[in-house]
Symmetry: D2
Subunit: 343 residues, 4 copies
């Protein structure tokens, strides 16, 4: 197959490119960029891609993209995919959109959280939220790849919320992310001298991933009506740890909880339940895995769920590949058998 990408200068696009290079089903990767008038060497567009062989990047042209490729990945900043989506939607051409533009169904919600003009409601309805470890794609061609925080939080909460094991009013998520989650653009909070040796809470109660998390949780269990969710920048390159607290309902014991988690995930090659320890971030870096540890405190009645992912892989490019594999009926682990060195 031939895969198209736009947005290969950003971190997620770079990671995606790297994964596609190793994917057994991918023959050619074609890069398209809006800011090009003519084809240029890809290495000139992004020297950090570390390409061994010369390859070109092309000006962006949706017709040419559809003519020469089987699928396109949009690894663009918020607000861009809205303007690119139309021709692909009309043609039912497969799109995997790593941005947040098509994750929310309600245009007003998008406007509220993103402070940008939303896509048309009909288009939003046609997009499919590709939380690949939970859902099977029902045949949609436009896939909104979930956010990194959303993935860690939703995978951590799914069995507890689906199984109605926890008090829906008691959920608190303290999520920590490495700096790559904040992207490549320059800002004082991502300056080394500010972020190193520091912890910074940011976007308190205002993070864009809150509505997409809540939309899924309330779909799984309508009793979940809100979510206390906070994000902290930690001085590491990659990785998210979502530490999730919730009160267990009376009558539910620890073993029952563990069983629910194993039932949902034991067939999934990418989610591991750690029975007797809380996983550290380093144990998933470089992989498409989500590791989940659980600990119940009988004194407080709280369950603590520790859900860790590599934000660039499971939280972005890895899950995008998972979605491509589903869409094109490739083996679920194709291109994702990543073995990482966890010191």
């Amino acid at each position: 197959m031939n895969a198209a990408i736009t947005g290969v200068t950003g971190y997620a696009g770079m990671q995606l490119y790297a994964l596609l290079q190793e994917h057994p089903e991918v023959e050619t990767i074609n890069v398209y960029q809006h800011d090009l008038d003519d084809a240029i060497p890809l290495v000139d567009l992004n020297p950090r891609l570390n390409l061994p062989h010369p390859q070109l990047a092309y000006p962006y042209d949706s017709q040419e993209i559809m003519a020469n490729n089987d699928l396109i990945f949009l690894a663009t900043p918020a607000g861009v995919a809205i303007n690119l989506a139309e021709p692909f939607l009309k043609a039912h051409f497969p799109v995997i959109d790593l941005s947040g533009d098509f994750r929310l169904k309600d245009p007003a919600e998008y406007e509220k959280w993103y402070h940008l003009s939303p896509a048309k409601e009909a288009d939003l309805q046609n997009a499919y939220y590709g939380l690949a470890d939970i859902y099977e794609n029902p045949g949609a061609s436009y896939i909104a790849n979930p956010g990194c925080y959303a993935t860690a939080t939703l995978l951590g909460l799914a069995p507890a919320v689906m199984g109605d094991l926890i008090d829906p009013d008691s959920i608190v998520v303290d999520a920590k992310s490495g700096l790559s989650g904040a992207g490549k653009s320059l800002s004082s909070s991502s300056h080394f001298s500010r972020s190193n040796e520091n912890l910074q809470i940011y976007k308190a109660n205002q993070h864009k991933h809150i509505p997409e998390i809540l939309a899924e949780l309330s779909k799984w269990n309508p009793k979940v009506q809100h979510l206390q969710f906070m994000t902290t920048l930690v001085p590491i390159d990659r990785g998210i740890m979502a530490t999730i607290y919730a009160k267990v309902k009376p009558g539910i014991d620890e073993m029952a909880i563990l069983n629910y988690y194993h039932d949902l995930y034991d067939e999934d090659p990418f989610v591991q339940i750690c029975d007797d320890y809380l996983p550290d971030i380093k144990s998933v870096i470089g992989t498409n895995n989500c590791k989940i540890g659980l600990t119940f405190n009988p004194v407080t009645g709280y369950l603590t769920i520790d859900s860790v992912i590599d934000n660039m892989l499971k939280g972005a490019a890895g899950q995008a590949i998972q979605n491509m594999n589903q869409l094109l009926n490739y083996p679920v682990t194709a291109g994702l058998e990543l073995t990482a060195l966890a010191f």
Copy 2:
């Protein structure tokens, strides 16, 4: 005055020594160590102390200590102060104990959380829990200096709990600490290759500081009967951020909360309430300050309290100096006017 220290090879003891060197009221610092048979140069005992001038470290001898000093700091590991305290308690000789040995009033609690033999109950009753920004020493000579996590958590929660502003059953503390909090001893979790680029939850629901936090909270408000408290190691040298979540009681508004916090702390030179932002760790490193930021989420009803300290200063040696200043009636900021560079 002359100040004695034992435990000057550990991080807290080193930090204490550094502060005492600058303290305007301290004339001589005398170092005593159990493992010495004879006096040796202090620089040989601990080259990292960076001493400009030769000075001796002496064998430990309680009578000699009391004869030549006005006060002793015990910067010893858990279990050691229990064996040192007796002669000082009998003589009403001033002690500031940085360990956890005398923080809990109930010997059984100590045994449960520390897995060590406790001090005698009568001695525990005579020790005073020196949470210096909240309490005035009533004249006790044996001061149990609070734990680092306990300090950040208690200062963050005090106005909310004292003022009965929050649902006592809803408190969740997600506390993060730099590696110096884990001490100088070697372990796989503090090996650079394991702890760097990593987040590690540790001692889930079993951290020794839980009972001392709960003891104070329930003293302030008997409705607080338990506390969901979790600790995560973050790859920085110094600093604690306690992110505290609790549901605000109906009828309490954000302004009322802020007022409670200002009322309690506005006269305190070491605690700052940040009205409109959540402070980062770097803004307190190198100081004896605790900065507290507050944000209320009207959707979830949760208050988030962000309490940051330098674990080596406010969380250990700085608060020890505060306690010395109280005990010996020195100005409250003596030796603690630290100005730090917050990049």
Copy 3:
């Protein structure tokens, strides 16, 4: 093929295991450990290997190893391979030894630098120094895989020394390494609180890699008789930068130097000459590449050579795979087409 490993609890062994899992020619990886009496699940031996499927680790037995495998990797600490080598050497069974035990030809040299009893001189003579980007294996079955610092330094110096471009008396190597190079064992210099936010020079003029570097250099150009070589620990997980200084001989110009470097390496898929910039460490992390940048200072007459590698890959496990590929006539890049994300 079936590959055996011993030493899979160390960093190099773990990295090797990860690479072998992806190697297209490797069918089975068998792990053998001396400290086992019976086979145990590999995941119990090393939970950090992150194995998806159950697999066993076996007690070490050289006959069984040779019966069931085509090659063995020894990823053992210094001094161990000396005791393991004999049966393999006798049987001409392929060995790739990642330790330093068989890198030096002279037993006295080994004793001097390693402070350990050396292997027999005859055995040392039979071992082959597998600097895979420079040499073709002439058929030796026992391969001494080069040291990490040696690899970065030798690849950086090879064209200059072979081409007699520099004053042999003027070579200064200032080499910096991440902490993984110091291994997994606990020590005060690898404690996070000591190594973070720090630079530490270590083993000044006494690093074990000095004699293996000098042996190759003087083979390439007998005028090189010594080498000023210094190592500094930097607070990163992985990577080596060897900054090499040497005076260019009169009459040699910059273009001539660049040509020598391109001539030697342009056919090599793993060594890249950066014509107009000095590469950073991050651009090679996660790959088996060595990037080399060159800058000539006409004022001082010094050439600066910046040679960067991932110490765990090109400097250990990656080069070991390269050596296996050579030995067993696999394609040179088999299992080493690693694409990394260079933020």
Copy 4:
């Protein structure tokens, strides 16, 4: 005394402000900024200064500055002090200029290295290069405070060059700096995701500090005519390590070298010669000290000099205070008795 500062939003200015707050001779610190039309609270100008008490920042006005202060610190970027200096020079009003604008005597040199218009030659001649551990101020009122790299390098080389102990043609300096040395302005090389877990050589053979180092070296020993000097960014907040290599002249032994170093520095409270080890960066962070370790390699004939400083203190604000103490005849260590915690 009253001290004026301009440039208090940069790192060096912040550090200077912090030191002045603790200086026993300083009564008032007055802050002046060009971008102000009216006085504003200093905390609004720079919230990171962490000021306990309200204080104002004033519009910049040289007459008012001279009327109300005894001295001014210019902590401004390159090119700014040139436009501020004139009125102070005319009035012989004491200035300590932390920028590089008046360090070079030759306007053409300044233009070549700084790519900016130089100050007038007469003014340059009147400025005094304040390398405070080597020189006594002869009475100059305009002090050019040395650069951070220059300070570490010059203090490390002074005895060897003054004593003619080394081959002047063999000096190689491999200098490493933390990110604060690169300043507060945003750039891709100081973005956390680029600089963390990385080493980056920068400004190869073109660093602005080269000419000021060479000017001093050649003044001390005219045989020194050039200097191979390279700078590498390391992922730490603060600190410089200058690793200096030079061939020892025939007939000079290690003891003679050590004696030269002790002779020059033993009376200096801020420079320590480490007789038997090479100091790490952490041992000087938070202090105004320079630690120097020496090791001689009899095989290569090279002396390695390891010179470490805190770039913000000895390399900027600390040395500025030293220069103020000299100029105003305060005790040499006034305001600089800093005790740091070297984990």
